[in-house]
């Protein structure tokens, strides 16, 4: 990396630049619970262009799923307080009324989950649920909706799709249910797909099929995707850019090649080093010591400092600044700032 690092993000919207599909600025999510205030998401900012795939990579409790749900305003309002700005396709999501929010969900933005059977209503057939979604958002006849539903099942490569339209969710195997959920999500040709660990519950031979299907559909439909996973291998398979998340913050962002081949943040390095690969056989794994940060009692400085091999006094004083190398590459570490 030859360019000198910049202390701040490069000017986002220069004159004439196209407005990105997603613009997220200073997103924060707090949960108020019995144990105090949980700082689940701490000032996250990013942009996503049309047709681009950003993967949020992090371990359990890092705030990656909460980020997705906050963007769709799916979190229960009585315990979650969300601040910051999220704009999708030019609409300020945080300011939308209920009706406008429902128009946005499903039509412009769709979401897929880890557990497909819980995303479907068990008492209606797959076909009925896809048709319901189509009719809610588009002016379409019953016959037209059924034809479109069939087309969608074909698109996600479900075998004998005409028969599957009349199946109930429990009649489908895991991989098939996941494909049906993707068909439902893509029913109204959304411009943004939010994917929350959609392949984690699947077997290895099925997981790779679903990842390749998502990649192909995302490419063919020119759809942007925000993909959440804990698995480095999955992130590498699908993403253009990766954001590594730790304790509710993005600690490093960049193009997938840069993150995998030249990780800068000590957490990213630790995560890659502790991800077991066959070639490491016979060598000791470089585990990250300690446990993930407690979101109810975050330290005042860098949240990774208690586990970091390079910790110094300045780390624990205040959160390190974001250091930007170029439009996409950011590292949040005082060592990067000093270089």
């Amino acid at each position: 990396m030859s360019d000198p690092p910049m202390p701040h993000r490069p000017a986002a919207a220069s004159a004439g630049a196209v407005q990105p599909l997603v613009l997220c600025e200073g997103l924060e999510v707090r949960f108020v619970g019995r144990e105090g205030i949980i700082h689940a998401v701490n000032s996250i900012s990013f942009t996503l262009a049309a047709g681009e795939v950003l993967c949020i990579l992090g371990e359990s409790g890092s705030g990656k799923s909460v980020t997705l749900r906050a963007m769709m305003r799916l979190l229960p309002t009585h315990i979650a307080s969300i601040t910051g700005m999220v704009s999708i396709a030019g609409k300020n999501v945080m300011a939308l009324d209920r009706r406008a929010l429902e128009d946005l969900r499903g039509a412009e933005v769709a979401m897929i989950f880890q557990e497909p059977t819980s995303a479907f209503d068990p008492v209606f057939t797959i076909g009925a649920q896809i048709i319901e979604t189509l009719k809610r958002h588009d002016a379409i006849s019953d016959r037209g909706a059924r034809a479109r539903a069939l087309e969608l099942l074909e698109m996600v490569q479900i075998p004998s799709p005409a028969r599957r339209l009349d199946n109930y969710p429990h009649e489908l195997s895991g991989g098939m249910a996941q494909r049906a959920m993707i068909a439902l999500a893509l029913a109204c040709r959304p411009r943004l797909l939010l994917a929350d660990e959609p392949t984690t519950a699947l077997d290895a031979t099925v997981q790779i099929q679903i990842l390749q299907l998502l990649r192909r559909l995302q490419h063919d439909l020119r759809m942007a995707m925000l993909f959440v996973t804990h698995d480095v291998g999955v992130a590498v398979e699908v993403s253009d850019r990766i954001a590594v998340m730790y304790a509710g913050r993005f600690v490093e962002t960049g193009h997938v090649r840069n993150i995998i081949h030249h990780p800068q943040h000590p957490y990213t390095r630790g995560l890659l080093a502790s991800t077991v690969q066959g070639a490491m056989r016979g060598r000791r794994l470089e585990a990250i010591p300690g446990s993930p940060a407690n979101l109810a009692a975050l330290p005042p400085g860098c949240a990774f400092a208690p586990r970091c091999p390079y910790v110094e006094p300045a780390c624990t004083a205040a959160p390190p600044p974001e250091v930007w190398y170029d439009d996409t590459r950011m590292v949040r570490c005082i060592r990067a700032a000093a270089r």
């Binding site: 895991g174 390749q212 804990h230 995560l271 993930p292």
Partner: protein, 337 residues
């Protein structure tokens, strides 16, 4: 039997009935483990891989007699298990211990960590004070400070710490063989590496033998000396880890390895090796169970079941496939001389 074989399993079989209807009649059978044979040598780690429903966890439960086998024999350290004159189940369970995937469900929530670990030795005739002493000793060996952890309850511990407690409980009886059933699958990557390092250290320091069950091919390759691949209740391939991963011979093993995410953004997978889901283990296909998804299947594959056999070139590497079986009728099979 050679002296260095610690565990030998022959023709192990377990079917589960599926009941339905008004009278709960048996309507189908899950052939969870069907005619499985393998052996584990003293001091090695045998990895067992396969997808959900392939029978790997049922095999583990049959080994320590948490489930009774329908057929088959288990020989441990030269003694046959469960037969008159052989080793009784109680003694087997002292010498063979198990660690499960769900670290929380496998601990009693009302028992302190110390009591949980000391319970095993006290059942096997060690006095309570001595058992507690041993519990504290083993806690420090798995990297948990007994002064801090001995009086804690499971809910006060993190997932990684609970799994260390489960490992301590397994080791306090000084077993010869430890069956690890997906021991790190529920843990975060950074914690997974800590626990794997611990398992490697303990094996070396305590001269243990492991059976390591996982769906994660990377972890199995890292941990194992030999690998056994299962598909729908059958062993399809077994051999040394190097030769399984470098020259897999069964089409299923090849597909499984090809399905691993690449870790290199410039070499992403283009075409998945298999289509569809694993078939339902209820009433599996006849013949070779993989033939319904196999790209090379021919008539003989659905007609008869290929035996698990070593072919000429492979030595210790055995595969159950008609393509490698001379005279099987498959066009790719070697010609009988």
């Amino acid at each position: 039997m050679t002296a260095d074989v610690l565990l030998d399993v022959r023709n192990l079989k377990r079917y589960f009935p599926v009941r339905g209807g008004l009278l709960q009649r048996k309507v189908a059978t899950v052939q969870a483990v069907d005619d499985v044979s393998f052996s584990v040598r003293r001091g090695e780690t045998l990895g067992i891989v396969g997808e959900s429903g392939c029978g790997k966890s049922t095999t583990a439960r049959l080994l320590i007699q948490l489930l009774a086998a329908d057929a088959g024999t288990i020989t441990f350290a030269g003694q046959s298990v469960g037969t008159s004159g052989g080793m009784d189940v109680r003694e087997l369970r002292r010498q063979v211990q198990m660690v499960f995937q769900d670290s929380y469900a496998s601990l009693n929530p009302r028992c302190t960590i110390e009591d949980t670990i000391a319970y095993g030795p006290s059942v096997h005739g060690v006095g309570w004070e001595a058992a507690r002493h041993r519990a504290r000793d083993i806690l420090s060996r798995v990297g948990l400070d007994p002064a801090w952890f001995a009086k804690r309850y499971p809910h006060e511990l993190s997932g990684g710490q609970r799994q260390r407690v489960n490992i301590a409980r397994a080791l306090v009886l000084e077993p010869k063989l430890v069956v690890l059933d997906e021991p790190v699958s529920a843990l975060d990557k950074s914690i997974q590496a800590q626990v794997l390092n611990l398992l490697v250290d303990l094996k070396r320091n305590l001269a243990l033998t492991y059976i390591f069950i996982s769906h994660d091919l990377n972890v199995v390759q890292y941990m194992s000396d030999r690998v056994l691949v299962m598909y729908l209740g059958k062993v399809v391939e077994v051999g040394p880890v190097g030769s399984i991963y470098s020259t897999p011979r069964h089409p299923y093993t090849r597909a499984l390895l090809a399905a691993m995410p690449s870790m290199d953004p410039d070499h992403r997978g283009e075409q998945a090796a298999l289509t569809g889901d694993p078939p339902n283990p209820i009433n599996p296909p006849p013949g070779c169970r993989f033939h319904t998804r196999c790209a090379y299947a021919e008539a003989c594959c659905g007609a008869s079941e290929p035996p698990l056999a070593a072919d000429a070139a492979a030595g210790d590497h055995r595969t159950s496939c008609h393509m490698l079986l001379p005279g099987s009728g498959h066009t790719a099979a070697p010609i009988v001389a």
